[in-house]
Subunit: 352 residues, 3 copies
Amino acid sequence: MTHTLGELAAFLGGELQGPADLSIEGLAPIDQATPREITFITHGRFARLADQSRAAAFIVSQEYAGLARPLIIVAHPYLAYARAAALFAPPVWRWPGISDLAYLGPAVALGQEVSIAPLAFIGAGVHLGDRVTVMPGCVIGDEVQIGAGTLIYPNVTIRERCTVGARCIIHSGTVIGADGFGFVPGEAGHVKIPQLGTVVIEDDVEIGANCAIDRGALGATRVGRGVKMDNLVHLAHNVEVGEYSLLVAQVGVSGSTKLGKRVTLAGQVGVTGHIELGDGVQVGAQSGVHRSVPAGQTVSGSPARPHREWLQIMGHLPKLPDLYQRLKQLEQDVSELSARLDQEQEISKLKP
Amino acid sequence: MTHTLGELAAFLGGELQGPADLSIEGLAPIDQATPREITFITHGRFARLADQSRAAAFIVSQEYAGLARPLIIVAHPYLAYARAAALFAPPVWRWPGISDLAYLGPAVALGQEVSIAPLAFIGAGVHLGDRVTVMPGCVIGDEVQIGAGTLIYPNVTIRERCTVGARCIIHSGTVIGADGFGFVPGEAGHVKIPQLGTVVIEDDVEIGANCAIDRGALGATRVGRGVKMDNLVHLAHNVEVGEYSLLVAQVGVSGSTKLGKRVTLAGQVGVTGHIELGDGVQVGAQSGVHRSVPAGQTVSGSPARPHREWLQIMGHLPKLPDLYQRLKQLEQDVSELSARLDQEQEISKLKP
Amino acid sequence: MTHTLGELAAFLGGELQGPADLSIEGLAPIDQATPREITFITHGRFARLADQSRAAAFIVSQEYAGLARPLIIVAHPYLAYARAAALFAPPVWRWPGISDLAYLGPAVALGQEVSIAPLAFIGAGVHLGDRVTVMPGCVIGDEVQIGAGTLIYPNVTIRERCTVGARCIIHSGTVIGADGFGFVPGEAGHVKIPQLGTVVIEDDVEIGANCAIDRGALGATRVGRGVKMDNLVHLAHNVEVGEYSLLVAQVGVSGSTKLGKRVTLAGQVGVTGHIELGDGVQVGAQSGVHRSVPAGQTVSGSPARPHREWLQIMGHLPKLPDLYQRLKQLEQDVSELSARLDQEQEISKLKP
């Protein structure tokens, strides 16, 4: 995985300043890079570390073109870093072909170059597209369909009839298609509502570790194209997540709620059921959203309200003890004023 | 799985209005049902969609008996929907018998019609009741006992000596009986308190995906009959959950806390340790309960307080910036009044 | 596992009061202990139960030396309880040797007395130290290194190149080394930043069930020696947790944040990314920490602030509706005073 600086500049579409034949063996942060590694400046605070850095070369924006070191100058250093990292990343582990130690049910349909590891379980009628990778410990239920190039890390469970698109990444421990939480209160306990629906994960979705995405009661729970979910996220039955949304760790979304496109839910956010968050809505960490939010709005707090309002309220909250003291003082002042005025009026009456 | 409308009406104990021989192939929401499917009206907002619905027939309450469509009229349409869904639900997947690809330890006792899938692990001395289903990837520790009819979805872990009742459903990724979080602070680090207890899950309990229910330090962590838990719920050691309680997703309950019967904890609630929530207590989403709550009370907020109090406080919170401005204005007004009164008294003194 | 009271006293380094040959078969809480079991008094509220207790003997501090029952008197009863519990704990389950039903990749290096259970997967080049235990359903990725005496419970996933120290305990369902959540916003969706780093877990760490600890983007996510983590905890990429810290259930820590030594995060706490919590910082349950906290401080609330400040604010919060009413009353009073003063001045002007 060694590349020359010239190759890297060409790959990144950047301008080369320095020796094209310089050999680069890896990528590292500016304060840790060795003379065989390239680094990058994505932020002013890193620029200050450039002089002491032992890095062989730097990926920078035009702003740092004056740096007297081997450079690749690009429009978007952070994006270039992501692309360079992909170049240096070791290939993802794949079992070569179909392991004898995996269980495959009847009528499984496999594309080209499918990888199924030992100790994986593939149910009846499952379809796996070209280059799908299923790692050890995964359980793929009957009639699940998985699109080309998708990567399923160890110990993932995908229940029957769910579908996962192409080029998705599902991290370990995640459960897709467990029953939604649906019960009718009854005299003799809660009566289970059978969850007849499925989960549909569209293309290019990444789902973190130990998430739980329930199947629909009727119809599907949907995760739109390009959505990225962090770890330990809960999506209830019939939730819909719009394209390119970002759900940070430990978020929970209740049943039948619809998130628009490019919605961002920060960490530990909770969203109640049966509401809609419009396109581009952003929700601050730990917020609790209990009613629909129009497109484009940023909300925070629990219950959530427009972010600026919430900031104002939070800014005043610490003043509450002082405010209370001042109110008591005022009550006393007003009472004294009132007494003085009573007295003044008494005196005044006695005058001619 | 085709049923006639007459059969359905009989099964649901409802009144038939329409052709008894009408063939029904499934169940769907009112706006998605095809002419081969039955739908249901559980809520006024759905009734408005009845005219445009292509559904073959409707499950309704007496209120909608005038609808000029094939009907089954029942006392509780929502309950009837749950029961009809069970009729149309595909049978739960089961491995026929005991797979050669499962591992069974010594002295395992199996009831009638037990199903153990490939890649399941069953420890020594495990007892599985009649019709228990253990799916792939499950690990059942030594001397675990599981009651008749219980369903264990893939990749569940049940640690040694725990017991699960009859007719329970445990969803994928859930861990029952991991060590409770118990340490004694010591000079040279935290000293582990061995967790010698177990977990006892009673009959008719359903537990969502990726939950964690710890074993007791001494004695048992208990989940009462008919309790329903959503995904990603945490129960610490020696927690007791009373019968028919509902724990929504991402709830956490700390050690030795006792929940009464029919308690409801909404999503992301946290409950501190060593307290008691009485029968019927309801806790609003994201609340933090830090002291015991008497039976029947509804609490909200963090720290939680009676729901109506919390609503009042939350209603006033947005007024805080305005309140602060008005307080400042008042201070100025009072100061001016005081000055005016001083002046008036000065003038008054000069008068005869 | 029967011990005499004399043996127990010697093992605990305590003073024996009572028959040295008394046979003790187990350990139980004071209200549940049988005449064959020993119990302990760690707290005044338990002392009151001593008279009715059927326990054979008591582990107590000097304070309860007057109790007319067989006693072991120790300096720290709670620590003595932990040590006695270890004595009575059944041995942890281990597969004897390497199961034929496990998969072992090439170039695996095994210490003495390693235990690998059926249905475990061990990747290429993995190093397992002496007495390491890997339970069923675990997936250990290529080139993972695990130190001596470490215990990996069922269905754990440890991804490639991560390292786990000696004497660690990893509970079921936990995922170590999944990709961090890193994306560059792009025109055509979010571009994944390959996560090239690893996770380093130091010695004597215990990690609860269903946790998710992501690998670093570059460099390592680190969990320091002696750290104890409860269930369902999320650590993002490049987080560092200092030695002997305690992370209670459902905590989430965002990327690149550094926790000092002996930090305590109570349940459901969220910590934002790229900040530092100094040594000994304590954070109250459900708090949201959004900026760095100096060593030794205790903070609470969301956003978190010094605990005493937060207590004061929370103490005043319920007064908000009353405060608002009193403010309105004051405004009216001041307005009336002002009118009275106007009138008084009018009258006064008319006087000579």
